[in-house]
C-alpha cells in the first residue's frame, strides 16, 4: 500500500488528471484559500490536497478500487471546501476556485470511467444508469453552492442550495398547503377530466369520419396556440378558487390527448384489422381488443405531455388571482417580498411534484404496455 501511495505513483493517466495537477500547483502558488481569518485550518487544507492527489493517483489503481477512490477523493475534497466556505462567504480567492475546478475535473474523470463500464449484471447496469446522472446533478448543486457562497452573492439574487433546503425544512406546513391547493385540487381534477374528455372525443371522432377530418387539423393547430392565455378568462368565469385553475388545465390537456389518441387509433395495421374482420368482430370489439391497446403508447405519450402541461397551467393560472394559498400564488407574492429562498423552495417542490407525476405515468405505461418493443427492450 505504501508503494501505491508514494509520490512516483501520482502520474495521471488522463488529461483531466494532468489538468487537476496543474490546478493544484496553481492553488498552492495563490495560497491562501480565503481572505478571512481563521479561514481553512492547515489540517483541513492538507486533507483537501491529500484527497485530490489520492484521486489523481487512483487512476493507476485497479479499476474497481480506482473508481471508488476517485469518487471519494473528488467529492470528499468538494465537501470539505464547501464546509469551509460556510461562514466565510464572499472571501474566496482564486485558489479556492482552482481547487474546486480540480475536484470537478476529477469527478468528470470518474464519470468518464463509469460510463465506459459495460456491466454484465442487470442490477449493476440500472445502478450505473442512476449514478451517472446523479453525479452530474450533484455537481450542479456543488458549483452553485460554492459560487454563491464563495463570491458572496446576495441571498436576494440567488440563495445557495443549502439555504433553500433549510427553507423547505422550515416551511413544510405552508408548502403542504400549497401542494394540496394546487396539485390535489386543481391539477388532478383538471388532468383527469381534460384527458378523459380528449380520449372520448377522439373515440367519437374515430366513429364519425366527418368529425375526424375536421377535428384533427383544428386540434393540430390549437396545440401550437398559447392556450395558457385563457387563464384570466377562466379566473373571471369560475372565481378565484381551484375550479378556475382546473378549467385551464382541462383546456390545456384536452387537445394533446385528442390528437394523440386519434393518431394512435390509426396505428393498428391493416393485417390485424383484417384478421378482426375475419373473426366477424363488431366495431366495438375491434376497438377494445385491437385498436385501443395498439393506441396505448400514443395515449401514454399524451398523458406524459399532459402531466407537465397540467402543472404549468395551474401555476400560471394562479398568477391571475387565487385565494391566499397555492404554489403560483406563493411564487408571485414571495417574489414581490424578495423572499427568493421561499420561491426556490416552491420551485423545488414543483419540480419534485412534476417529476413524481411524470414518473407515476411512466410506471403505469410500463405496466400497461408491457408487450411493446420499447418496454420489453428486445
Amino acid at each position: 500500500m505504501s508503494d501505491l501511495l508514494s509520490l512516483s505513483s501520482i502520474t495521471p493517466r488522463s488529461w483531466q488528471g494532468y489538468a487537476a495537477l496543474v490546478l493544484l500547483a496553481g492553488a498552492l502558488l495563490l495560497w491562501p484559500l480565503v481572505n478571512a481569518t481563521p479561514g481553512y485550518g492547515i489540517g483541513i487544507a492538507a486533507l483537501i490536497f491529500f484527497l485530490l492527489l489520492l484521486a489523481i493517483a487512483a487512476d493507476n489503481f485497479p479499476p474497481a478500487i480506482g473508481v471508488v477512490l476517485l469518487f471519494l477523493g473528488a467529492h470528499g475534497a468538494a465537501w470539505l471546501l464547501l464546509a469551509g466556505i460556510t461562514g466565510n462567504e464572499g472571501t474566496a480567492r482564486a485558489s479556492f476556485y482552482l481547487l474546486l475546478a480540480a475536484a470537478w475535473l476529477l469527478a468528470w474523470r470518474c464519470v468518464t470511467i463509469l460510463s465506459a463500464l459495460r456491466p454484465t449484471s442487470r442490477w449493476a447496469a440500472t445502478a450505473l444508469r442512476l449514478i451517472i446522472p446523479a453525479i452530474f446533478g450533484a455537481w450542479i448543486l456543488i458549483i452553485w453552492e460554492a459560487v454563491t457562497r464563495g463570491a458572496g452573492i446576495p441571498f436576494i439574487l440567488l440563495p445557495p442550495p443549502s439555504a433553500i433546503g433549510v427553507r423547505i425544512a422550515n416551511s413544510l406546513p405552508i408548502l403542504a398547503a400549497d401542494v394540496r391547493q394546487t396539485i390535489f385540487k386543481a391539477v388532478i381534477f383538471g388532468y383527469v377530466v381534460g384527458s378523459g374528455a380528449g380520449y372520448f372525443a377522439a373515440i367519437a371522432a374515430d366513429r364519425v369520419p366527418f368529425l375526424r377530418r375536421g377535428l384533427l387539423p383544428i386540434g393540430n393547430m390549437v396545440s401550437a396556440l398559447p392556450i395558457i392565455g385563457v387563464a384570466p378568462i377562466m379566473v373571471m368565469w369560475f372565481g378565484f378558487d381551484w375550479q378556475s385553475k382546473a378549467a385551464v388545465v382541462i383546456i390545456m390537456t384536452f387537445f394533446p390527448m385528442l390528437v394523440n389518441t386519434v393518431a394512435g387509433l390509426a396505428a393498428s395495421g391493416h393485417m390485424e384489422r383484417d384478421l378482426m374482420r375475419t373473426y366477424a368482430s363488431s366495431y366495438w370489439q375491434t376497438l377494445f381488443k385491437l385498436r385501443l391497446p395498439a393506441a396505448a403508447p400514443f395515449i401514454f405519450n399524451a398523458l406524459k405531455i399532459n402531466s407537465t402541461l397540467a402543472l404549468i397551467g395551474a401555476i400560471v393560472a394562479e398568477f391571475f388571482g387565487t385565494p391566499v394559498v397555492g404554489m403560483g400564488f406563493r411564487i408571485s407574492t414571495e417574489v414581490g417580498r424578495m423572499n427568493i429562498d421561499m420561491v426556490w423552495a416552491e420551485i423545488a417542490v414543483a419540480a419534485l411534484a412534476g417529476s413524481v407525476f411524470y414518473g407515476v405515468v411512466a410506471l403505469f405505461e410500463r405496466a400497461v404496455t408491457f408487450w411493446h418493443p420499447s418496454v420489453r427492450g428486445g
Binding site: 468528470w108 464519470v111 468518464t112 463509469l114 460510463s115 451517472i132 446522472p133 453525479i135 452530474f136 446533478g137 436576494i156 439574487l157 440567488l158 366527418f210 368529425l211 375526424r212 377530418r213 375536421g214 377535428l215 387539423p217 383544428i218 393547430m221 396545440s223 401550437a224 396556440l225 398559447p226 395558457i228 392565455g229 385563457v230 384570466p232 378568462i233 379566473v235 373571471m236 368565469w237 402531466s307 407537465t308 402543472l311 404549468i312 401555476i315 400560471v316 398568477f319 391571475f320 388571482g321 404554489m327 411564487i331 408571485s332 417574489v335 414581490g336 424578495m338 427568493i340 420561491v343 426556490w344 416552491e346 420551485i347 414543483a350 419540480a351 412534476g354 417529476s355 407525476f357 411524470y358
Partner: protein, 292 residues
C-alpha cells in the same frame, strides 16, 4: 392521408359550429347580468331586443365573436402602430422576445445535441437531466427570473427571451439528437470506407440527415417560445406585449381586450409556425429533396 379538399368542408363546418355555440353561450352567460341591468333600469325588453343587448355589453362575461372581431380590427388596423394600445405594437414586443429566445434556444439545443452525440459521458449524464428539466413547471420560475435580473440591472428583452430559450431548447435538443443519429450504419460504414474524418462525417452525413428533424422540432420550439414570451410578460407589471394586455384586461375586467389579445397571440403563433414550415420546405428543396 386526407387531401386538402377532403378536409376543407369538415373543418369549416366545425368552425362554423364553434361560432354558433359561441354566440349561444354568449347570450346565456351574459343574460343574468343583462336581466339585472334591465330590472334596475325598469325596462322590459322583448326577446330579440334582449338578445341584442346581451351581445353589446361593454364588459361582457363572454364577448360575442363580432365584438372581439371589431375590437381586434380596431386595435390592429385603425390605431397608429406606435400607440401602446395597438395590438400590432404589443404583438411586436412579444414577437421580438420570442424570436430572440427562439434563436438562443435553437442554438443551445443544437450545441447540446452535438455534444451528446459526440461525447459519451454527456450522453449518459446530461440526457436524463434534459428530460427531467421538462417535468419542472419552468413557467413558475418566470417571475423570479425577471425580478432577479431586474435587480442586477438587466431588463427589457433579455429576461423574457431567457424564458423562451428554456422552453424552446428542449424540443430542438431532443429532435437534433435523433436527427444526428438518424444516418444508418451502412451510411456510416460507407463514410468509413471513404476514409472520412469525423468532421467530414459530421458535416457531410450527419448534418444533412438531421435537417428535416431540425425543422420539425423548430416548429414545436417556436410555439413554446411564444408561450414563454407571453408568460414572461406577466410579472413585468403590464408594460407592453400580449401577456401584458392579458394581465391589464384581467385587472380592469376588459374581457373584449383579453379575447382580442388572445386572437392576436394565436395569429402570431400560426404565422410563426407557418414561416418555420415554409423555411423548412425551401431548405428541403434546396438540398435536393423531392416531394414524397
Amino acid at each position: 392521408m386526407d387531401s386538402f379538399r377532403d378536409k376543407i368542408v369538415p373543418v369549416t363546418s366545425i368552425l362554423a359550429g364553434v361560432v354558433v355555440v359561441w354566440y349561444i353561450m354568449a347570450v346565456i352567460l351574459n343574460a343574468p347580468f343583462q336581466r339585472d341591468l334591465d330590472r334596475r333600469a325598469g325596462e322590459t325588453p322583448d326577446i330579440v331586443e334582449f338578445i341584442c343587448k346581451t351581445m353589446s355589453q361593454p364588459k361582457p362575461t363572454l364577448p360575442a365573436p363580432h365584438q372581439v372581431a371589431v375590437n381586434f380590427f380596431e386595435n390592429t388596423f385603425l390605431r397608429s402602430v406606435t400607440s401602446n394600445r395597438s395590438l400590432v405594437y404589443n404583438a411586436w414586443v412579444t414577437l421580438s422576445s420570442t424570436l430572440l429566445g427562439f434563436a438562443f434556444g435553437t442554438a443551445l439545443g443544437i450545441v447540446i445535441a452535438v455534444g451528446i452525440v459526440h461525447v459519451a459521458t454527456l450522453d449518459r449524464s446530461l440526457m436524463p437531466w434534459i428530460i427531467a428539466s421538462q417535468t419542472i413547471p419552468i413557467l413558475a420560475v418566470a417571475p423570479m427570473i425577471i425580478v432577479v435580473l431586474a435587480a442586477i440591472g438587466i431588463t427589457g428583452l433579455i429576461p423574457k427571451a431567457l424564458i423562451s430559450t428554456y422552453l424552446s431548447f428542449f424540443p430542438v435538443a431532443v429532435g437534433m439528437v435523433k436527427g444526428l443519429r438518424s444516418p444508418e450504419l451502412t451510411h456510416l460504414d460507407l463514410m468509413h470506407t471513404y476514409n472520412a474524418s469525423p468532421s467530414q462525417t459530421f458535416w457531410k452525413l450527419r448534418v444533412p440527415a438531421s435537417v428535416p428533424f431540425l425543422f420539425t422540432s423548430m416548429k414545436v420550439a417556436v410555439a413554446a417560445s411564444l408561450v414563454g414570451a407571453i408568460v414572461g410578460e406577466l410579472p413585468t407589471g403590464a408594460v407592453a406585449g400580449i401577456g401584458a394586455k392579458l394581465l391589464a384586461g384581467a385587472y380592469y375586467s376588459q374581457t373584449i381586450d383579453i379575447w382580442s389579445a388572445l386572437v392576436a397571440g394565436s395569429v402570431v403563433a400560426a404565422l410563426l409556425v407557418m414561416v418555420v414550415g415554409i423555411a423548412g420546405r425551401i431548405v428541403d428543396r434546396a438540398m435536393g429533396g423531392r416531394p414524397a
